[in-house]
Structure formats: C-alpha cells, structure tokens
C-alpha cells in the first residue's frame, strides 16, 4: 500500500517536472532563435470601384468603399512583421485625385519600409488606379486589361437652359468674384476657365511626375503617352507602362520571388471577413452605421465638384 502511494507521488512529481522541463526547453528555443518561424506572408489588398476619399457610402443597394479602408489596410500590412510584401489587386476605373494621392503615398511608405509592392490588374486599372499602380515595384496586367487614361479632368455641367425652362433663377450674395465658380446655373467665364485649367494642368503635372518616377520614364516620354487615352494590357506592356502580362497567380508568384519567399506563398487577405469578425464585427458596424445615420460624413454635402483622374465614360450616373 505504502509502495503504491510512493509510486503515485513519484509519477505525479515526474509529470510536474516534465511540464516544467518542456516550458524551459521552449523558453531556451525561443530565446535562442531555434524555433522554425513562418517564412512570411504576402498581404493581398483589393482596390475595387471608383476611388473616392473618406469612409465611403453604404446603403441597401449600393456599397462604395472609401480610400480610408485601403489606406488603413496598407498601413497594417506595412507594420505587420509577418507581411513581407504587398500585392494590390486593382479593378478600378480611377477616381478623385486627392484620394488617389493618399493611397499612392501609403504605397510609397510600404516600399520605403522595405516591402515590395506588386500590382495585379483585373478588368481595369485606368487613370487614378494606374497612378497607384505606377507606384508599385512591378505591374502585372492581362492582355485585355483596360489601363492608361493618364490625365485629369474637372467635371462641370451647365444646367442654365434647364433652369430657364423650369423658371428657376438663383440669386447669390458672394464674398468674392469666384466664390461660385463652377456653378451650374450660369456659363463659366474666361477667367474662371483659366483658373480651372491651371488647376487641371497642375494636377496633370503631378500625375505625370508620379508615373515618371514610378515607371522610371522621362516626364517627356510620359507626356507623350498621357493624352488621356486608354490602352490594353498588351499595348501598355509594349509602351513600358506595365511590366508583365499575366493573371493574378502569376502576380502572386512574382511577388513571392521579389520578396524572397518560397513558391506558392501564404496570402494574408485584407478585408476578408473571418468567423470572429463575423461574430464580433456587427457591434462595430452597428455603431458605425448609427454614427453615419446621426452625423452625415464630412464632404457628403460638398458643392464643389472634385477633380477626377478617371475616364469620363466610366462614370456611372447614380
């Protein structure tokens, strides 16, 4: 009996020692750097639809993501030590110039952090979307991808005739002569046209400079290509606007090679809803939804049109 009790104690003590020893071994291995770590992942970030600044707009029938989401995802990927490279999957006709510039600046920061950025173009990566793509280390496009459209325009509609037919005449008390520039109920003056043209030219110059820097082309060469026309992926490759023709998985392999990762790398997809996010996310979404309902986002009621880096024919009227 006493022998059995002693045996039990020995076994229990041995179990405790084994657990403690295991912890000590694990501690030694981690401190010694002997644990086999993950080779790293590629962050997959999607840029879909028209590029607009802010938080975007959502309703039952319409969901337009704002660039705040993409910028946050790029920042998270930059700060995540597990992420070794970023793959941008672009399917966008472009968008507003400032929103594009914000995303492009974040892409540049990712590169400055030593993480290669690769772009995979889907159906379309035109205008502002090409601006962002140009910042990448490597661009993949399908032969039929629609890209290019390097240029800027300012949308303006003159509804003067319609207003006259409806009997509407708008009176304004202005603080300055140009405060109601681009007002739709009167024609633009020559002076106003010159002001807007100056702005468009300045933004066009910024676009050209960004493409020249990103694609390592001379500004003069970019200006030759940047008359606003669109190109197919094949044409863009011949002109030096795209590096490789290939699909998404070619881009994945290309990104892995650039980052020194093994073939068939692990992807960390941003914006993908995990079961945990599905379970816990609604509270955040609920509060965000209430916030949006109670306080309209800044800029939603802006009267000024936004300068667009987007082919005009891709703008879908709401």
């Amino acid at each position: 009996m006493a022998q059995t009790a002693k045996k039990k104690k020995i076994i229990a003590m041995a179990s405790i020692v084994l657990v403690a020893l295991s912890l000590a071994v694990l501690f030694a291995c981690t401190r010694g750097g002997w644990l086999e770590g993950s080779p790293g992942k590629i962050a997959l970030i999607h840029i879909d639809g028209i590029i607009v600044g802010g938080r975007g707009y959502s309703s039952v029938l319409f969901d337009q993501k704002g660039t705040d989401t993409v910028i946050r995802q790029l920042r998270e990927a930059r700060l995540d030590p597990e992420v070794k490279a970023v793959l941008l999957r672009i399917n966008s006709p472009g968008g507003s110039v400032p929103a594009t510039q914000e995303v492009a600046a974040e892409v540049r920061r990712v590169k400055e952090a030593g993480k290669p950025v690769v772009v995979s173009m889907g159906d379309m990566a035109a205008s502002g979307a090409y601006w962002i793509a140009a910042m990448a280390d490597k661009i993949y496009a399908n032969p039929g991808t629609i890209t290019g459209s390097i240029g800027v325009y300012f949308p303006y509609a003159n509804w003067e005739g319609l207003y006259r037919k409806l009997g509407i005449r708008e009176e304004k008390i202005k603080s300055g002569p140009h405060k109601d520039i681009l007002s739709p109920e009167r024609p633009m003056t020559a002076e106003e046209r010159a002001i807007i043209q100056g702005m468009v030219d300045a933004m066009y110059a910024q676009f050209v400079a960004a493409v020249a820097e990103g694609r390592k082309l001379s500004p003069a060469r970019v200006r030759e290509l940047a008359d606003g026309r669109i190109y197919t992926g094949s044409q863009a490759q011949e002109l030096g606007l795209v590096d490789e023709l290939g699909d998404f998985y070619d881009a994945v392999e290309g990104t892995a090679a650039l980052a020194g990762l093994p073939s068939r790398p692990q992807l960390k997809e941003y914006g993908k809803v995990s079961p945990w996010a599905l379970l816990l996310g609604p509270w955040e979404r609920l509060s965000r939804g209430l916030d949006r309902f109670l306080t309209p986002p800044a800029g939603e009621e802006t009267l000024m049109p936004v300068p667009m880096a987007i082919p005009a024919r891709w703008l879908v009227p709401e």
């Binding site: 076994i11 179990s15 912890l23 959502s58 969901d63």
Partner: protein, 188 residues
C-alpha cells in the same frame, strides 16, 4: 505536499476518485492554484511562441489567466445550477474544487505542444489540432466526472448538466451570427 501529489496523480489516472475527494473536502486555495497552472501554462506556451511582440505576449498570458478564472467560476455556477435542476445535491464549494481539477490536462499536454513547437515536421499544425482535440475531449470528460462526483448524480445527468448550457450558448451564438449576417447584408 503528499496530498496534492496524490490528487494530481488521481486526476490523470483515476479521475473519479480525485473529483470525489476534492468535492468532499473542498480546498479552494488549491483549486485556484490548479486553475492558475492549467491556464497559465498554455498561456506561457503561446507567450513563448509569439515572443516577437512583448506587448502581445503579455496580453496573451494575462488573457489566458483571466479567461481561466472566468471560465472556472462561470462553469461552476452554471453546472451547479443545471445539475441542481437534474437532482444534484452537492455544495457549490465542492463543485468549484472538483471543476478546477478538470482543467489540468491543459497543462499536462505541455510536453506534446512543446515537441510540436520545436519540431520541423511539415504536418505539425495538423498534429497540433489533433492534440488540441484530444485534450479538449479529455477536459470535457473530466468536467462530466467532476459534476457527477460533486453533485452525486448519474453519468447521463452529468452529461446533460455539462452539455445543455453549451447547446443553449451555441443556439444563442447561431442566432447572433444569423442576425449579424442579416445586418451585414443590409449594409450596416
């Protein structure tokens, strides 16, 4: 010292006797220490594996300990209630003491998890999942034994007492997921 060494041996090799003994003479200090070890050791493993980020590691360890205490007290309260509904006649302190021992396999599996962490075999994530599942089933079985011995009810009733709250919780979570899905679909 001899007492608790016997108890640890019995939890691993003779759980019914261990739970009966713990419930009959509940020692809550020892029970608290058992929960601390049961959740602290796996927390320490996670801490060591993720030691690249100090803040994250400390958060994991603290979360594991806090979750351990919370799970222990909450499970004891819920099982005490459900077992009572099924004819249980034990003491709350006995239930706490017995349940604390049921989590010990979490710490006992440390050598396996350490071996997996330092090994370089390709399917170690699968083995990790399998070992996790085995430990999970072991803990569940010990929970049933703990409730049975602490409350003096049959095994069938103990199984019902342990799984009924979980089933209710799952149904609640299912409803929540359904509601969340509907809200997301509606654009919230």
């Amino acid at each position: 010292m001899g007492d608790w060494l016997d108890l640890i041996y019995d939890v691993l090799f003779n759980p019914a006797a261990a739970m009966r003994s713990a419930a009959a003479s509940p020692r809550l200090g020892f029970a608290g220490a058992a929960v601390f070890i049961s959740f602290g050791v796996p927390g320490a493993i996670l801490w060591l594996i993720s030691s690249g980020d100090g803040t994250l590691a400390a958060a994991i360890l603290l979360a594991a300990l806090a979750a351990g205490w919370l799970v222990w007290v909450a499970a004891a309260a819920v099982f005490y209630f459900t077992a009572g509904l099924l004819g249980g006649r034990g003491q709350a302190a006995g239930m706490l003491a017995a349940l604390a021992l049921a989590f010990l396999p979490l710490a006992a599996a440390t050598p396996v998890w350490t071996a997996l962490a330092i090994s370089r075999i390709p399917a170690k994530w699968l083995l990790g999942l399998l070992s996790g599942a085995v430990v999970g089933v072991w803990v569940l079985a010990l929970l049933v034994v703990a409730v049975r011995e602490a409350e003096g009810i049959t095994t069938i009733r103990a199984v019902a007492a342990v799984f009924f709250p979980g089933a209710v919780l799952l149904a609640g979570l299912g409803s929540l997921v359904f509601l969340a899905g509907a809200l997301i679909y509606c654009g919230w």
